[in-house]
């Protein structure tokens, strides 16, 4: 459980953030300059808020009222920085055990051997940081933070300095950590793809304020309409299960409350959970059941609401069973189709990407 309620004034920038979340991975989402790093720095004790409280797993780390401000080295908050920040004068092994050696032997729950195997560091132990690739550096940084025996792990855009292939690799390692070590992770990012793949709960920051927090589906739907998180490409999340595989056509069928979605073959067993992200621009609307079209996914839907804005496009929020979809169509289309709340129609889903295991486009 992470409880944050802080204010910080720095020149013209005011940070005023309040959230309480508990999840294996909490996503801290926002554009650059929204205050994400300030929040994790405050949790780590690197910057001091002007006012407020920070409580992690029932341990109070900061309370301006009671004059509590635990020193960063006593907080036991693991921090993985954007650019690894390995100590250049030590080899990989010395980097790994730097924090471990500073903890009392009784507190050393996470074992060195385990971390080395988990992150695939065995062959790197004697290397010096300047000789490592970006992905390797980041893995060592994660291992170093873990061996300091943290209560939670903060990751500040750990993939920002990596290329595409390395990103997927590190993401897979982070999922392994979550499943294997059960350390809560606060994952900071401005990437929707990363957050929907990893996070169970998200906190959205906008201009130094916490715009929303909660389960990822809820928060995203709400934010798409409120427009609080610019840069969040309007999309909806559908929780589904794998219903069947069609090996001949290389397709898989995912079932969810509102119907079925056909997507390119996924490497999940039948019955496994799959989280699907559908971009609002990939959803079209039709008043009648369309015939003779190439789109495979046609779902019955009801209009819940239509966004009001001066833009040439509008976001139409749809109820599909108990799931929610968002369709982005032009204002003119909405007018010509006469779209209004409560109306029954068909949603055509052109593409759905699987979030929990890489990206499969339909």
């Amino acid at each position: 459980m992470i409880e944050v309620d802080i204010e910080r004034h720095l020149g013209a920038f005011h940070l005023d953030v309040r959230f309480e979340v508990e999840a294996p991975i909490v996503g801290l989402f926002g554009r650059s300059g929204s205050g994400k790093t300030s929040v994790v720095n405050a949790i780590a004790g690197i910057v001091r808020p002007s006012r407020g409280t920070i409580v992690v797993n029932e341990v109070c780390l900061f309370d301006s009222g009671k004059g509590i401000d635990v020193a960063p080295e006593k907080r036991r908050i693991g921090y993985v920085f954007q650019d690894a920040l390995l100590f250049p004068h030590m080899d990989v092994e010395a980097n790994l055990v730097y924090g471990q050696r500073l903890r009392a032997p009784g507190d050393r729950v996470i074992a060195q051997e385990h971390v080395v195997d988990l992150l695939g560091l065995r062959t790197l132990l004697r290397r010096k940081p300047p000789t490592l690739s970006g992905g390797e550096k980041q893995r060592v940084a994660i291992g170093r933070a873990l061996l300091a025996q943290p209560r939670i792990l903060l990751m500040d855009e750990p993939l920002a300095s990596l290329d595409g292939a390395r990103r997927m690799e590190i993401l897979a390692y982070i999922e392994r950590l979550r499943d294997d070590l059960r350390i809560p992770i606060v994952y900071v990012t401005h990437s929707v793809a990363e957050i929907t793949r990893l996070a169970d709960r998200i906190v959205v920051l906008s201009n130094g304020k916490s715009a929303a927090f909660g389960a990822i589906g809820e928060v995203k739907d709400r934010l798409d309409f409120e427009g609080a998180a610019e840069g969040f490409e309007a999309a909806s999340i559908v929780e589904a299960r794998v219903a069947a595989h069609d090996g001949d056509d290389g397709l898989s069928t995912l079932a969810f409350d509102g119907g079925e979605l056909v997507v390119p073959g996924v490497d999940l067993a039948v019955g496994e959970r799959a989280r699907v992200r559908i971009l609002a621009r990939d959803v079209s609307l039709s008043i009648h059941r369309p015939a003779g079209i190439s789109v495979l996914n046609v779902l019955r839907a009801h209009v819940e609401s239509v966004s009001e804005s001066g833009d040439p496009v509008v976001d139409v929020r749809l109820a599909v069973g108990r799931a929610t979809l968002v369709a982005r169509i032009t204002r003119r289309s909405a007018r010509e189709l006469g779209i209004a709340s409560g109306q029954a129609l068909y949603a055509l889903v052109k593409a759905a990407s699987l979030d929990s295991r890489g990206g499969a486009e339909a």
Binding site: G45, A71, F87
Partner: protein, 230 residues
């Protein structure tokens, strides 16, 4: 011809002793001052910085005179040192070491300060989050990473100490066997008729010493750079 006379050996040994003592004693203070100048801001920092750099720009004789006034037997600091610890600096080789230390101090501080400023401070923050206290961060991260600058600064100050003349002769005079270091001996030989030969021999020793110090500095700096991962 190549063999040194006992007198020359004595002069050489004294010079080395003075220079070594001066850098060994001033190094901890130089690291402290350099860290302070690189990392802290406090009122009067500019003035403090200027005072540290004064020996670099003042005539050495003036520094020597100031030392004589402050550390002389009746001076405010010198009398206390004498009373409390029985330490007398005036007209002793230790005084020559103090003069060399003061003159080399700005060079030492500058080099160390530059290398501390070049360290990515986020490395120190990272070490704090891993459980290191401020003191341990300084010992395990800052100092090793500043090592190239510490080596350079030490050797610069050492070389400066070997060549120290003005402050030394003013503060501790020119006493053979006690305060007559190499430059003072060269000066003395040039002042007596027929001393040029001896002056030349000592000057050649000074040249050799300087070249060795430079080469050592180059080698050590490269080594410590590699150790610091740069």
């Amino acid at each position: 011809m190549l063999e040194l006379s006992p007198q020359e050996l004595g002069i050489l040994a004294l010079s080395l002793r003075v220079a070594v003592a001066s850098v060994v004693c001033s190094l901890p203070f130089a690291v402290l001052v350099a860290h302070c100048l690189a990392r802290s801001s406090f009122p009067g920092k500019t003035l403090f910085d200027a005072i540290i750099h004064l020996p670099l720009v003042l005539p050495p004789v003036v520094v020597g005179f100031a030392l004589l006034v402050l550390f002389g037997k009746r001076g405010p600091i010198g009398s206390l040192l004498d009373q409390w610890f029985g330490i007398v600096l005036a007209f002793r080789w230790t005084g020559a070491a103090l003069a060399a230390a003061i003159m080399g101090f700005p060079l030492m501080v500058r080099a160390i300060r530059l290398s501390i400023e070049a360290i990515d401070q986020r490395l120190e923050v990272a070490a704090r989050t891993l459980g290191a206290s401020k003191a341990w961060v300084f010992t395990s991260i800052t100092l090793p990473l500043a090592l190239p600058g510490i080596v350079t600064g030490t050797l610069l100050s050492f070389a400066r100490g070997l060549g120290e003349f003005g402050a030394t002769i003013t503060f501790v005079s020119n006493i053979p066997g006690e305060t007559q270091t190499l430059p003072l001996a060269v000066y003395t030989f040039t002042q007596v008729p027929g001393g040029e030969g001896n002056a030349l021999r000592l000057s050649l020793i000074a040249v050799v010493l300087s070249v060795v110090a430079l080469a050592a500095s180059e080698w050590l700096t490269r080594r410590s750079r590699r150790a610091a991962g740069r």
